[in-house]
């Protein structure tokens, strides 16, 4: 009898060790399964319109991840996507659904371009810093205002931020076609091109501009802020239960305004890199939809700043392959939009699974 008991013991401890891991595994396994289910559902959609899903995913691999050139294409999209996703994820940790990051990107880019013309003759480092700070301030104020409206007036932040994105686009169009237009830009109204010294170049050893480093640092900063500081702890409490946070005397109002403003500042920084590293001036190209893909990325990453990076690389690759897919498969450019919509829906549907799948609960492993 003692022999049997001894034999059972190691197995029991092995099962016990899953008690702690199981809920963490849930947060990784469910999104990955949902992502795969989304891919499968999109494959069915492609089959229904008479296209080959195999070709589709092959082309995504080829255009997004297979060579140095395709990585350049992908990584150039990762920087704005990461920063835009942080603009969704930071407020989300406080329970706010802010979806107007596009507005902060657009106005941040405009602010950077205007600041760039003002500091044209000054030392490059000072000029670059001024541009980036101008972009972050404008973006931060723009989205911070959404948080302030929520706190001070109870305005729904989702609708307000999206309305403000439309207003931001109108402002960009007004300024690049009016007061800040470079008379030399004939076909595509733009601001005055940046002087060469203010352009942001490529990083060493990486087929990408410096924006990617800023994106990585922003993610690390956001992660430390949320997971390792008292401020982040307070924000997580407020996100779980506002009343409890207020009873505890936490400054919920300042937290909301601070987190939305920080998210907006990151989105504004995305606009800065779009202007300083990609376009060279502010024009309608800034309205590229990064703000909207950022929403999907943030939700897929479950608003975890560190998870945002790999997800952004994945979707950067999908968006980079859009052109090749259009040419080779004769699919419209909206294909990527359909793909993203389907994946997004499946991801949200998978939220219903948390705490419902037995093998991910501690109770399941305790019984073993």
């Amino acid at each position: 009898m003692t022999l049997v008991a001894q034999a059972e013991k190691p197995a029991a401890t092995a099962a016990r060790s899953f008690i702690g891991i199981a809920p963490r595994a849930e947060a990784v396994v469910i999104p990955i399964c949902a992502l795969l289910a989304g891919f499968a559902l999109f494959s069915i959609f492609l089959l229904m319109v008479g296209k080959s899903p195999v070709t589709f995913y092959q082309l995504v691999w080829k255009a997004g991840f297979s060579s140095a050139f395709s990585w350049q294409n992908t990584l150039s999209r990762v920087a704005p996507l990461v920063l835009a996703a942080l603009c969704v994820a930071l407020p989300a940790r406080l329970g706010l659904v802010v979806i107007g990051g596009e507005g902060a990107i657009v106005l941040g880019g405009l602010a950077a371009a205007v600041a760039g013309t003002a500091v044209a003759g000054m030392p490059a480092a000072f000029g670059m810093a001024t541009m980036a700070i101008a972009a972050m301030i404008v973006g931060g104020v723009w989205i911070g205002a959404v948080g302030a409206l929520r706190i001070k007036r109870g305005v729904n932040e989702t609708i307000a931020s999206l309305l403000m994105a439309y207003i931001a686009i109108a402002l960009l169009n007004h300024f690049v076609e009016g007061p800040f237009r470079d008379p030399a830009s004939l076909n595509k109204p733009s601001t005055v091109p940046l002087t060469e010294s203010l352009r942001v170049g490529d990083m060493p050893f990486l087929p990408s501009h410096w924006g990617i480093l800023a994106g990585v640092l922003a993610c690390l900063f956001a992660w430390v802020l949320i997971e390792r500081t008292t401020l982040g702890f307070a924000a997580r409490i407020a996100g779980d239960n506002v009343r409890a946070a207020q009873v505890q005397g936490l400054p919920v109002g300042r937290l909301v305004i601070g987190f939305t403003a920080l998210g907006g500042a990151f989105a504004g920084l995305a606009g800065y890199f779009e202007v300083a590293a990609v376009h060279g001036s502010a024009n309608a190209s800034l309205i590229a939809g990064y703000g909207y893909t950022g929403i999907l990325i943030a939700f897929l990453a479950r608003h975890n700043p560190l998870a945002i990076l790999p997800v952004a690389v994945l979707f950067g690759g999908f968006e980079a392959s859009s052109g090749l897919i259009q040419r080779r498969m004769e699919l419209p450019d909206a294909t990527i939009l359909v793909f993203e919509g389907i994946v997004f829906l499946v991801i949200l549907l998978s939220e219903a699974l948390y705490g419902r799948v037995p093998i991910f609960t501690a109770a399941y492993w305790e019984k073993r």
């Binding site: 109870g154 309305l163 402002l171 294909t335 939009l337 359909v338 549907l349 939220e351």
Partner: protein
């Protein structure tokens, strides 16, 4: 027709005409959102439904050569979107606002995907009724060319108000919207009622989209909706979840949307883009004015996540 010089009145007449023309999609989408929200759910995806309704309505009208069949098809497509939204939100832990964002992406994606072949051809228009026969001023007559759907929208607002106030169906919708528990205690199925309300809401948004592509502006393009669906959702809050108020608010929003083109028609082109932003700014301003901190907005369905 000979133009009569009416001076600055021209701007007002143009705004009136524009309000009637521009407001119709607002009426339909806001009434659809009202039905959904009165059942206690929030459908942010109506912007996508509106765009898909515009595409499907136009495509079917072109293929069948009948604008009315197009409107019906748009309603059916919108109902499918609404039902999908309602079904997904049934599951516990699923956030209806986030689902709305995903549905918005999907609706626009599918509309652009299948709408490519229909950007060039010309589909039949919806008919209009002239209500300006009593006037000698051609501008006023033009302004009072009223589309059938505008009148249908007005009647629908009255019908929904009556339905909510006096019918059994309306009472059930209100109970579900105010308290899930009370509805369960009465033996009602909140999920089913919300599913149907979201489906009906989607159908109305689809009709709103068909109006865009089949009457004004009257053709299918990818830029056909610039946030009308979203503004209509904000409009429901401003209208305090009252169908009659929705109708008037839609007219007001339509007028704001017509401001830019009206000023342009009398030669004021300065700040064209800024006037284009007027409807968004107006919506935001009204949202700020009508919202209030620390208490639910008056008239809001109590089970609605939006005001929690």
């Amino acid at each position: 027709m000979e133009q009569v010089d009416v001076g600055l009145w021209g701007v007002l007449i143009a705004i009136l005409g524009g309000a009637i023309r521009v407001s119709t999609p607002f009426i339909f989408v806001s009434l659809g959102e009202l039905l959904t929200e009165r059942s206690g759910r929030f459908n942010l995806g109506l912007e996508g439904t509106l765009v898909f309704g515009a595409m499907s309505g136009y495509a079917v009208a072109y293929e069948t050569n009948s604008a009315f069949v197009g409107v019906l098809a748009a309603a059916a497509a919108g109902a499918c979107f609404g039902l999908l939204h309602g079904w997904i939100c049934k599951f516990k832990g699923v956030n209806d606002i986030a689902v709305g964002i995903a549905m918005m992406l999907l609706g626009m994606g599918l509309a652009f995907f299948f709408g490519k072949p229909y950007i060039q051809p010309q589909a039949p228009d919806l008919p209009a009724i002239s209500l300006g026969w009593w006037s000698d001023i051609p501008q006023l007559r033009a302004a009072l060319e009223v589309n059938v759907l505008f009148i249908v929208g007005g009647l629908l607002a009255l019908a929904i108000a009556w339905m909510l106030r006096t019918t059994r169906m309306g009472l059930r919708l209100r109970v579900v919207g105010d308290s899930t528990d009370a509805a369960r205690a009465m033996g009602l199925s909140p999920d089913r009622i919300r599913l149907l309300a979201t489906g009906a809401g989607g159908a109305l948004a689809g009709v709103g989209g068909a109006y865009l592509s089949l009457y004004y502006p009257g053709s299918w393009t990818e830029g056909i909706s610039s946030g009308q669906g979203l503004m209509a959702i904000a409009l429901v809050i401003f209208a305090r979840w009252n169908p009659i108020n929705c109708f008037w608010a839609a007219l007001l929003f339509g007028g704001a949307g017509a401001l830019g083109p009206a000023l342009q028609s009398v030669g004021i082109t300065e700040g064209y883009y800024l006037f284009g932003a007027a409807p968004y700014a107006l919506t935001l301003g009204l949202l700020i004015l009508t919202s209030a901190p620390d208490r639910a907005v008056q008239g809001a369905p109590l089970a609605l996540t939006l005001t929690k």
